[in-house]
């Protein structure tokens, strides 16, 4: 461990390794750790023992076992998750993200790339470039990696043949020409035997370039974050007592000094920096990567998620963006569906309004797409529920990146790189009128609301809704019914029954309901509306208390038995595709205001239950 020189000014290089299964990534990292003498005697003894048990290299020590950590993957001989490795030479410290090559784990590769400055892309000399190699190169490029090493591994198995190497390098160079890499260093090597990893190989006398380690020590990847405009996403408001109110966070880019003018990007409120508190107390100046607390001269409204910026160099602020999105969830991305979005320290709701195209990562071709499946990449328009300050990702990685989170599972479902804000948003403003919802409702002396009936086809939604509307009308209430079948003849006649069309169907119904509530009406909606996410989307379009979810809970067998429209019979025979309950899922509500057991009581009894709640809401 004599390479760990204390107190040196050693710099840090963060890199990732990627390639296909069996290209030898783990072996290469194991080789680098071994050659850099980072392997302790007891660890070596353990893997020597393990090599006999799991190893694939006979009596030799299998260096891949140094890094393949989890039991499951050791048994399968694959790497299933990103692992981080650390080693150091007198010149540099290295953090290596070891990224798996399996197609379904592309998301892990993107994770590694998002935090790295350089990528080692492995190719097996025997196989040449695979689709995976191209996929990984494209993802590296998409995530802003500017420096790559093309490691042509297992060159020993091709007799250290220069022709093989030159052919792979030539093929790669033409593929990668459009990917925007600033440096691309090809190296012929054998991770297993160490040729050209840390020491120059006598077997490749024809190769004049650096060894892998020489290159990693020398390559300059410094992106000058300090020279960029000042950006400070507020992470936490520090208010321990009445005398101190500071805004804590990490400087994303640029520099700031005491006395500098700043504005809050979204609100445009301005002030000056009064104090900067760093890890060792007050400081005059702070730069990119510093974790600091800023005290302002004035009492300005600032919260977590706000971004402090210089008044003369502000980021675009918008609620509509064009962005590249890499989807990482098994449940496909659907346009119109609401997701949670995190950018900087701000969480907001967001939905994809349009998928402009999907990128075929093998050929880089653009293809039309209605949704994005796991590991697919699309160029999309995004709409956020509040105005967000963001710089284009190409200019500022911290300020241009975001993640999308599933609202129910909380899984990180996708990641995105903002390309540009859409101007449309800045030109369309909300017009304020003199007569508002409250005024209209007061004239009608009723509280407007949406009664949302959800349930399987044939569950009795429409039957109950009709009875409820009739009774409300008799009470002198102004009502209107939106019916799924009726709307599909007009407003929604361009929509079918695929998942994405169902989402759009409900979004439009939600918007129409909102207008009608605004007009003061009690709106009855009966829609199968099978997805929780969309019912919730409508709920959130409205004010609290305005949305009443009524789950008509009739067992599927009962619906099939009734089959008033003969639809189940046709769905079962395959004549109707995507039929809810048969060939398309129904997600039952978890927190419906009313659950009607549709198999048991008569429609009149069920309608009474709804009317009771409406009556209570009208009073309350």
């Amino acid at each position: 461990m004599d390479t760990n020189v204390a107190g040196s000014q050693r710099s840090l290089l963060r890199l990732l390794t990627c390639g296909s299964v069996d290209d030898g990534k783990s072996t290469l990292i194991g080789r680098m750790l071994y050659d850099a003498q980072q392997i302790m005697e007891d660890t070596l003894a353990t893997i020597t023992k393990d090599s006999r048990k799991h190893g694939t290299v006979g009596e030799d020590v299998d260096l891949a076992l140094l890094v393949d950590g989890l039991e499951a993957e050791r048994q399968q001989g694959i790497t299933i998750d990103v692992a981080y490795r650390f080693f150091a030479t007198p010149k540099r410290s290295f953090i290596v993200a070891d990224c798996p090559g399996h197609e379904q784990y592309t998301r892990n590769m993107a994770t590694g790339a998002s935090n790295s400055d350089l990528a080692i892309i492995l190719a097996d000399a025997r196989k040449g470039l695979l689709t995976q190699t191209k996929r990984h190169s494209y993802i590296c490029s998409l995530l802003g990696i500017k420096h790559v090493v093309l490691a042509v591994n297992k060159i020993d198995l091709m007799g250290f043949d220069q022709g093989v190497f030159d052919r792979i390098v030539g093929e790669y160079a033409s593929f990668a020409a459009g990917l925007g890499f600033q440096t691309m260093q090809p190296i012929p090597l054998s991770a297993r035997f160490g040729d050209n990893v840390t020491g120059r190989s006598g077997n490749t006398a024809w190769y004049r370039g650096p060894t892998l380690l020489e290159h990693l020590e020398a390559v300059s990847t410094e992106q000058d974050e300090v020279a960029k405009p000042f950006r400070f996403p507020v992470q936490w408001v520090n208010r321990p007592n009445l005398d101190f109110r500071g805004f804590s966070g990490t400087v994303a880019s640029g520099a700031v000094a005491v006395g500098d003018p700043i504005v809050v990007a979204a609100s445009g409120k301005s002030s000056h920096v009064a104090r900067l508190v760093g890890p060792d107390g007050d400081m005059e100046k702070a730069v990119a990567y510093d974790a600091i607390t800023i005290v302002l001269k004035d009492e300005v409204d600032v919260a977590r998620g706000d971004v402090l910026v210089p008044p003369m160099d502000r980021p675009p602020v918008s609620d509509q963006f064009a962005a590249h999105i890499l989807w990482m969830d098994e449940e496909a991305l659907l346009p119109g569906r609401q997701y949670l979005m995190r950018t900087g320290n701000l969480w907001t709701n967001a939905s994809i309004t349009t998928i402009k195209h999907r990128v075929d990562v093998g050929t880089l071709e653009h293809q039309p797409a209605k949704k994005l499946e796991l590991n697919e990449i699309g160029f999309c328009n995004i709409s956020t529920s509040q105005r967000v300050p963001m710089d284009p990702y190409a200019e500022n990685r911290q300020m241009g990146s975001f993640i999308l989170v599933d609202r129910f599972t909380n899984r990180t479902a996708g990641c995105g790189m903002m390309d540009f804000p859409l101007r449309r948003a800045t030109n369309v403003h909300h017009e304020q009128f003199l007569v508002d919802k409250a005024a209209r409702a007061a004239l009608d002396s009723q509280k407007p609301m949406v009664l949302w009936f959800t349930g399987l086809s044939g569950s009795g939604k429409s039957t109950v809704a009709k009875l409820v509307e009739k009774a409300l009308h008799a009470q002198g209430r102004h009502t209107y019914t939106l019916d799924g079948d009726n709307l599909r003849h007009g407003l929604n006649n361009d929509l079918g029954f695929t998942d994405q069309d169902r989402v759009e169907n409900i979004r439009r119904v939600g918007e129409v309901s909102k207008l009608m509530v605004d007009a003061g009406l009690i709106v009855l909606c009966s829609f199968i509306s099978p997805f929780r996410a969309e019912r919730n989307m409508v709920r959130e379009m409205l004010e609290p208390g305005e949305f009443v979810e009524i789950f008509v809970d009739t067992p599927l067998e009962e619906c099939i038995r009734r089959d008033a429209k003969g639809l189940y019979a046709r769905a079962k025979s395959g004549a109707i595709k995507n039929f809810t309950g048969i060939s398309s899922p129904y997600e039952a509500p978890e927190k419906a205001e009313i659950v009607l057991s549709g198999g048991g009581a008569t429609p009149d009894v069920l309608a009474e239950q709804v009317l009771d709640l409406v009556a209570a809401r009208q009073l309350g």
Partner: protein
């Protein structure tokens, strides 16, 4: 007043410090009821230092939690109480009452059962009892292979279960801190630090650590190839066994019957670092619990061990 922070730190350490502070602030900003797991070791001491810096000039906005197994070195407990008093911290101490009632210990029940009942189980009890939804710890990715894949924000399903396949991808610094009821998060601000970075930082920042990390002449017992310090008389001498005074130090802290020392004359931090530079064994070798069985750390993690 200084220009950019701390001239004492190398650029590399300054980046690690800032990253650690940001992670700790994220916990305070995103969780309802976080806690700092304080194991009294050197890594915990660094996390505590970062946490104090993260919220200055304010106080630490969450308490500390120590899981006392009943077999901690006395020197660790003394050190803990002194630090807590000095810094004015709020500390919870928890031991598994069922384990105590059943008299579970490493000498009578073996290290595996002891750590499971008095360590893992006790930790889960304490987290549930106080309703902590996020626990900060000092684990590092360079410690052990199963940890190299650990997230900074490590998601735990209800029952504190760690499932490798359900861990969330962590892109940029955009941590997904959202959890459903019953789920919790373990958070590791030192994920990207190496053992040497920790020592380097302790030296540069002059952070107090338990004196057992430094060499002194101590009464030692050789047993099963390890050097054990009998901290009290619950460990009986076997026939023919005899304590001898030796110059030793400990590389990790833990329960005294399970923590091996090694012979050393490194009496201060600079000598310790010189010793580490030439060391040929890994840090965990002194821990008698890890070699219990192959892939033992992964199994412990699945069960909820920190």
């Amino acid at each position: 007043m200084s220009d950019s922070s701390g001239g004492r730190l190398t650029p590399h350490l300054r980046r690690l410090e800032a990253e650690g502070i940001a992670i700790i602030r994220e916990v305070a900003a995103s969780f309802r009821n976080p806690v700092l797991l304080y194991s009294i070791g050197k890594d915990s001491s660094v996390v505590l230092q970062l946490a104090m810096k993260a919220f200055a000039p304010g106080p630490l906005p969450f308490p500390l939690l120590h899981i006392a197994t009943g077999w901690d070195f006395k020197a660790m407990l003394d050190f803990r109480d002194a630090r807590v008093a000095e810094l004015g911290l709020k500390l919870h101490v928890h031991s598994n009452p069922e384990g105590i009632a059943r008299g579970i210990g490493p000498l009578t029940h073996g290290s595996q059962l002891h750590m499971s009942v008095m360590g893992t189980e006790a930790l889960k009890q304490a987290l549930d009892m106080h309703g902590f939804d996020a626990a900060l710890g000092g684990a590092r990715r360079d410690e052990e292979k199963a940890r190299a894949k650990e997230r900074v924000f490590s998601h735990r399903a209800p029952g504190h279960v760690w499932e490798p396949r359900s861990q969330r991808p962590e892109l940029w610094g955009l941590y997904n801190t959202r959890i459903n009821p019953g789920e919790t998060m373990r958070v590791f601000p030192l994920s990207n630090w190496t053992e040497f970075d920790v020592w380097d930082y302790i030296a540069a920042e002059d952070i107090p650590i338990v004196p057992l990390y430094y060499a002194a002449e101590r009464p030692m017992l050789r047993r099963s190839g390890a050097l054990i310090m009998r901290d009290d008389n619950r460990m009986e001498l076997e026939p023919g066994e005899q304590e001898e005074m030796m110059w030793v130090r400990f590389r990790t802290m833990g329960d005294w019957p399970l923590t091996g020392a090694h012979e050393s004359r490194a009496e201060n931090i600079h000598q310790v670092m010189d010793e580490l530079r030439t060391s040929k064994t890994s840090e965990r070798q002194g821990r008698l619990i890890d070699s219990d069985q192959e892939a033992s750390m992964e199994r412990k993690k699945r069960e909820g061990y920190f």
